[in-house]
Symmetry: C3
Subunit: 269 residues, 3 copies
């Protein structure tokens, strides 16, 4: 049967090793003993929807068709916010209606099938007001992992909340954007596309972050001496600012929102 | 055979990503290659038995019959403390005789079957003095995962160590208790039952924590404005104090042991 | 088929819950849906090759024949450093040519079979300059997990980089070494063999760490009162300095590189 060994991934802000994650795993394995649980992250910064959006966009595309992705970053738990089931290119997501899932899904399609979870007979018999991960998300994942049809989950919806994500300004002579993600090494990922950055630096453009000019454009960290501040195209295709064998976020006192520019070489006096 | 795909959970204070956990996983998978390992937590605060008790009580009930739960929070490792096998409602626990497992098991039964592990032929050939997780707990879990009978592990015992856990005082006009657990969001879980709290606040009772009066009783975090200090029934059924979209432990400088009261509305002058 | 349920372990410095780990898991499960992924650690200190060497040496020996161990601690990513496939006693490792794997493999054999990965048709179609974990390591693990022959990965090599690891000096009257690893409890693991230490302390030798004399030699932590600084043979067979129910690294302000000696009892005046 196809539901044997369904793949269920978990992304939460519950904290590594928290009992909330453990309880969800118990519900999942009680209901779908053959499902394969894969931890993606439990260290999403609490209630940080933008971080979640970038996180999911950078990893979900690598998972196979049929995967079930459970996303519980849910500051509105227990209010009248909806919980959604999203189907896109054979992938399933279960996520709150807070926009955190859109960026990932847009990589597959502009027209996902989205349903609002309303069929409460599929949930835990008693639903708490504050832990829908255990009481709604996990039972719905069990239902899907066992081959249940999404149609029974609730009615299709055509509108949902989108996150306002910062957009770069890509002019012919100047690219302006900001840091949108800091990775665990302190590398600064920006919203400036890698190709635009490369095209401009090929014409002597310079990268500036905060007030600092980045000394070198490289292909990979190890091309510069330890401690050098470098600009490169990240593995996810955007302009990245890094410090070779160091931590750019700390060295440059930069973080999410720090302004980044690619500008022409200043005219010499 | 039923032992194929036995479910083995791991709860330790070894630290996420520590080589102690990795070595245990190696022993488990070498002996029971088909077992399914599920990490519950490796970030139990070092040697904190009370934390372990609350952690296990809040997640083990959701796991299915037949699960094997390995718990290595073991300040007495290598001394003459016993290691126990506990069977309750078809669940198996392997835990030190330090009381950390009792609260969870009491949710299933008052009369668990408890054995003291003595059959050393089932252990690693050489047992270190300081790492029984690898040398005793994991091999015994392998034995059970492969369908071994608990009777062979050692003799039944009828006495074991219990933790002294703080008990609330539930008077007709006043509930007195304390914070017993801080979750990863900084929410403060107390030992005051949710129903008693609701009954009293329905009659205009007020919640006080440390010296502070909690402004609002809510059903879920999102009912109050960001930053509000709120009281609610937690997803595990107790009185919880939280800060909407914030961290109550930090805001209130509160933690395990902080006094919590539900008291009558003060008489107006 | 034997590749069903291949065991693939992951050891990285990507950070627990980072999207780099999640993306690797996606590639692995897309290519080898039946593989069993086991997280060993994602909290290796960034780019710390020596830590990685000790970590792997302490846990890999417990894993079964046929295991595939993926190790991505790779400060040289994207430079001309090689990526190696190492086969030893039926175990497979995929690791950068930076020496981090040697200590573990030497426990099995002096003559591992080592290949340099060059067969790029087995990799992701496009290889980024900075994320070979996703683009090379994971696809090669998929190939092996599906039963692929190592011969196709690349040509054998007979030379590779070795780490300079600190060696102890073991004289007849004095053992001199250093702390080489700090575990999550703050216990200090040294490079002095446990047997040499026991032999000398049996003859009234004393242990000194930094400037401090260690009060007691014990078999296990719980033999001394809480707070005592003790010396013992660690579960991995070396001299360890610990504080009972405490954190020796903090108490002694010691860490990797701190000098440790076992010396004769001072002559009494």
């Amino acid at each position: 049967v196809s539901h044997v060994q369904s793949l269920v991934t978990l992304t939460t802000d519950f904290g590594a090793g928290s009992f909330y994650v453990a309880a969800m795993k118990g519900v999942l394995l009680s209901g779908a003993p053959e499902a394969r649980l894969i931890d993606l992250s439990h260290t999403i910064p609490p209630q940080d929807l933008r971080f979640t959006a970038f996180f999911l966009a950078r990893c979900l595309p690598y998972f196979p068709t049929g995967s079930i992705h459970v996303v519980v970053v849910d500051p509105g738990v227990g209010t009248d916010r909806s919980i959604l089931h999203i189907e896109a290119e054979g992938r399933h997501l279960i996520a709150p209606d807070n926009g955190c899932w859109c960026l990932a899904v847009e990589q597959w399609t502009d027209r996902p099938q989205v349903r609002r979870l309303t069929e409460s007979t599929l949930w835990q018999p008693t639903v708490s007001a504050t832990f829908h991960g255990r009481d709604i998300f996990a039972p719905v994942a069990v239902y899907l992992a066992r081959g249940g049809a999404p149609e029974a989950l609730g009615s299709p919806v055509t509108g949902w909340i989108r996150l306002a994500l910062p957009a770069p300004t890509l002019g012919p002579d100047r690219l302006t954007g900001e840091v949108v993600f800091v990775d665990p090494f302190g590398n600064l990922l920006t919203n400036i596309p890698g190709e635009a950055f490369l095209a401009m630096t090929a014409r002597d453009g310079r990268v500036r972050i905060g007030g600092t000019e980045v000394a070198r454009v490289v292909r990979t960290y190890g091309e510069a001496e330890p401690g050098a501040v470098v600009a490169l195209v990240s593995s996810s295709g955007c302009l990245e600012v890094a410090v070779t064998q160091g931590n750019a976020a700390r060295t440059l006192a930069a973080g999410i929102g720090t302004a980044v520019e690619v500008v022409p070489l200043p005219a010499r006096p």
